[in-house]
């Protein structure tokens, strides 16, 4: 029995084994092997990564600030990056193979290229917002136009109302033209089909990459040379719609393609005509995708400069009639301001560019929000509605609805479904 109680004895004698349960024995002289972690790098790899970074930073500082006449942050970053990769390569080569060295160097190259790209993107946004701020924080920048304001007037005078209004008018017309045409083309490519649709699809795809200036030239030759009409906001809107059309058509095409075929078949099997199927089943199913298509096209159209430059001119006045007279727009205002060489005009151009940039980012974020995959979580709108329905006015409405429902029960049945 003593053998059983002694945990160090790992060889119990035969009579003891007749007793049912016994504790597992451990051997204190054998140290357990640490389990290999699959999730992370070994410690020495982390040490090498951070050690190389710190050493490279120090080396870069010594080289650029003390040894060579390469002052400035740019050189520091470049030399740091180069020192970093050299140290990484040497450090890996000390305790690992060539394969590991090339893996390290490749990871460094790929990551630093990506970092470069995103830093460049960040620099565009930050720089434009920073330079635009002096103009942006005056309220008159949004409420005045540039009529009667000379280029040397301070930023407290004049603004970009005319440019914003011009952009809005042009984009409104362009959307009104290109939305039905674009979605119609997408419906044609998906619902009608045939060999002709294939040609149209190829051409639309080629059109997506059309240089923007050619859209302007096209409207110029048709509208101004062939029809003899003057340069106007309408011509600019037409040029923008030529640019927006393929974007809407192509994005809607992709969206309509993922509408389940069973929905169409169900509708057709119930006896609906093809048009009724498209109008009541296909398009409503793809609604958010179509909205995304429109928003992406607007985001593209709002920044189109070259076509507007050719088909309309810049003017300092608020001008809302698209039919006659040149009409300014945001990109044109930016372009003219940047070319003027006047310090204050350049600041105004940066202010307008900041507005344009914010607009594009906002449109883009909306498009991403609409196009996100639907999740099990109820949408923000539905959650808001639910929380609103708990407050008195909501309950009042519910009460009223119930009262109406009592009076006309047949309608309620339909509503409930």
């Amino acid at each position: 029995m003593t053998a059983l109680l002694d945990p160090t004895d790992s060889t119990p004698t035969a009579p003891v084994r007749t007793i049912g349960t016994h504790l597992p024995t451990t051997d204190p002289t054998v140290r357990p092997v640490p389990r290999a972690s699959l999730g992370g790098l070994p410690l020495e790899s982390h040490f090498l990564t951070w050690g190389a970074r710190l050493a490279a930073l120090a080396m870069a500082w010594v080289i650029t600030q003390r040894l060579l006449p390469w002052h400035g942050l740019g050189w520091l970053v470049v030399v740091f990056a180069l020192c970093n990769v050299v140290l990484l390569a040497v450090g890996t080569a000390i305790f690992d193979t060539d394969v590991a060295v090339s893996d390290r160097v490749a990871q460094w190259a790929v990551s630093s290229a990506a970092a470069f790209v995103y830093v460049a993107l960040g620099s565009v946004i930050v720089y434009v917002l920073h330079k635009g701020w002096p103009a942006l924080h005056h309220a008159n920048f949004f409420t005045h136009d540039m009529s009667g304001v000379s280029a040397k007037d301070p930023l407290t005078r004049g603004g970009i109302t005319h440019a914003i209004a011009g952009s809005a008018v042009q984009l409104g017309i362009a959307s009104a033209i290109s939305l039905p045409l674009g979605i119609g083309t997408a419906v044609f490519m998906n619902e009608v089909g045939g060999p002709f649709a294939k040609i149209v699809r190829t051409v639309v795809e080629a059109m997506t990459a059309l240089p923007d200036i050619l859209a302007g030239l096209f409207i110029y030759t048709v509208w101004i040379i062939a029809f003899g009409l003057p340069k106007s906001g309408l011509a600019a809107a037409l040029a923008i719609s030529v640019m927006m059309l393929p974007i809407i058509a192509r994005t809607s095409d992709v969206v309509l393609r993922v509408v389940p075929g069973t929905l169409r078949e169900a509708s057709l099997a119930l006896g609906a005509s093809r048009w009724a199927t498209v109008w009541n089943v296909v398009l409503p199913t793809a609604r958010s995708g179509l909205a995304t298509a429109l928003i992406l096209a607007i985001a593209r159209g709002v920044g189109e400069t070259a076509p507007v430059l050719i088909t309309s001119g810049n003017s300092p006045y608020l001008h809302l009639n698209p039919g006659s007279g040149v009409m300014s727009s945001l990109p044109l205002f930016i372009f003219d301001g940047a070319r003027s060489g006047e310090e204050l005009q350049i600041q105004r151009a940066f202010g307008a560019a900041a507005v344009l940039l914010i607009l594009v980012v906002a449109l883009f974020a909306t498009a991403r929000y609409l196009a996100r995959p639907s999740s099990a979580k109820p949408s923000l709108l539905r959650r808001l509605r639910r929380s609103l329905s708990s407050i008195p006015s909501g309950s009042l409405r519910t009460l009223r609805r119930t009262a109406t429902a009592r009076r006309t029960p047949s309608v309620t049945a339909e509503e409930a479904s």
Binding site: A114, V128, L181, F196, G303
Partner: protein
Amino acid sequence: MTTLPLSDPASGAQPPATPRRISRRPTGGDAVFAHAFRVIGASVLAVTGGIGVFLAYQSVPTLRHYGLSFFTEHQWDIGHDVLGIAAVLSGTVLIALVALAIAFPLAVATAIYITEYAPSGIRSTLVAATDLMAAIPSVVYGLWGVFLIQPHAAYFSLFVQRTFQPLLVHGTARTIVILLLVVGVVAGLGMRFGMRIKGRLLWIPFGIAAAAALALLPLLTVVGADPNAAVPDMTRYTASAFIAGLVVAMMVMPMACSVIRQVFSQTPEGEKEGALALGATKWGMVRTVVLPFGQGGVIGGTMLALGRALGETMAVVMIVSPDFVIKGRIFEIGSQSVASLIASQFAEAQGIQVSALLTAGFVLFVLTLIVNTLAAIVVSRSRSGADTA
């Protein structure tokens, strides 16, 4: 209990049922629907076809007036009525190539980073940021390029010229190097296609040609100014094709990147895991599985970017100072592209000059159409791109 369907005794002996003829031709309202939408599709086709047709039609008077020398003349001299697009065409290609040389490695590396290296938490954010980069208007990039990048890029140009000046080949040596380049290329092509030689032997002529090209490369960095002067003339280093190409690269990079990323992300997981299971490092897996799989997408995406770079207007207008000379000196002030020529000259152009500009536009149209169509074919023919388009 099952029963067989009984024939209706009242109808008597019926002819055996024949299948109804099935027609896919729409009738009634469906026909109206199909035809109406066919008209819409045709109108879109007409708009695109119209661009080519109208521009081609407008270039008839140009060719009648200037003849074929319009394509070989490099000056754009309105005063003497000497107009030609040789210089602008070469400038367009040069700026596009500079842009591509910068954008291509960045696009491929960013695509690899997003698909393979980025932590999965930030992946969708990075994709959104890249798409946003493509959506930023070109005029905003132009502002950024002119006011933020240009001063730094000018100093970089000065540095490059100073560094590469000792490597320049002059006089007879230059002639010999150019001869070597030509001989190497001709001999290589002759061996490959004339004598049908494959393999290692081909390295000799092409190696000579590559070495000669490398020796000629510093010629690109010449600027008509002394880089070692006490106060270098910085105005000679601004408004160059290099700076325009740098900004255009920012615009075309996201486009190429999104095509390449989509193709890379379709690499079969099994093949990737197979490579890793055989002991490949991550880079080994990327090099042997992802890159070969996405080859078509890389080429196609790059060509799409090239098409876009050829037609980029505003950044070039805002940065370069017009110069109608055929030159390869990318760091020197002055260049011009077709699109920027049109944008900058159109306001003052009259009569035949408008036609000339429209002809230049037509040439640009044909050029971009060829490049984009080739890109689309390459992407759709490749193994990976078959179902991305």
